[in-house]
Amino acid sequence: MRIESRAYGPIEIEDRQVITFPAGILGFEHLHEYALLDATQPGFYWLQSLENPGIAFIMLNPYDLRPDYVLDVPDEDLRSIAYGDEEDILVFAIVTIPEDESRISANLQGPVVINRAARLGRQAISLDPRWRTKHLILEELARAGGS
């Protein structure tokens, strides 16, 4: 299907890239249909709203940032995306890029979990207080790489 995207303008995507978020993303509860796209930079992804082309989120895999990341979210969140086979579950963290780009950060407290088989997604809230809304990406990478 053809969609309008923030990153690439009009593009063609496959049906399997379309993910439904029944509860939306926090703060964007009115938007339910998204496309999951690769970003040009490896390891980054776009979560592109299909209902509002102007809304898109950059995401990364939290395990690339923090190998010790553990998805610790309420069972209810996982049930809502028909959690069954762990193989089908994708976990992402939404990225924020402020004016000072060196302070680019990832939100590990509100992970986006997607069941790619059921094509259902949800933004969960981590039960583990170690994970916060702003993990500075450059700092985390330097720390982990230097260990």
Binding site: F28, F44, A56, I97, I104, N107, I137
Partner: protein, 88 residues
């Protein structure tokens, strides 16, 4: 909104499975003990608010960089000079 007055060590029961007790009161701070099944989500309002605000900021930042050109490399070796801590 239902408003109930409770003293320290008193409890209210919500449904069959949720109990909220007043554990301690110090000045303007109330410490609550909450017993609920694991599938009932209990969060501070601030956590919701913080994630909502972070999402709004993230959506704004994505808008200003449509091509994603500012994204750093996630390959660890690329993020630091190779000298220094060799052999890790």
């Amino acid at each position: 909104m239902l408003i109930l007055a409770r003293r320290v060590n008193e409890t209210i029961v919500i449904g069959d499975t949720i109990r909220v007790s007043v554990v301690d009161i110090k000045g303007d701070q109330v410490k609550l003990g909450i017993e609920a099944p694991r599938d009932v989500k209990v969060y501070r309002q601030e956590v919701y608010d913080a994630i909502q605000e972070e999402n709004r900021e993230a959506a704004r930042s994505a808008v200003s960089r449509p091509a994603g050109t500012a994204l750093p490399s996630l390959r660890r070796g690329d993020t630091q000079s190779r000298d220094g801590k060799s052999g890790s």
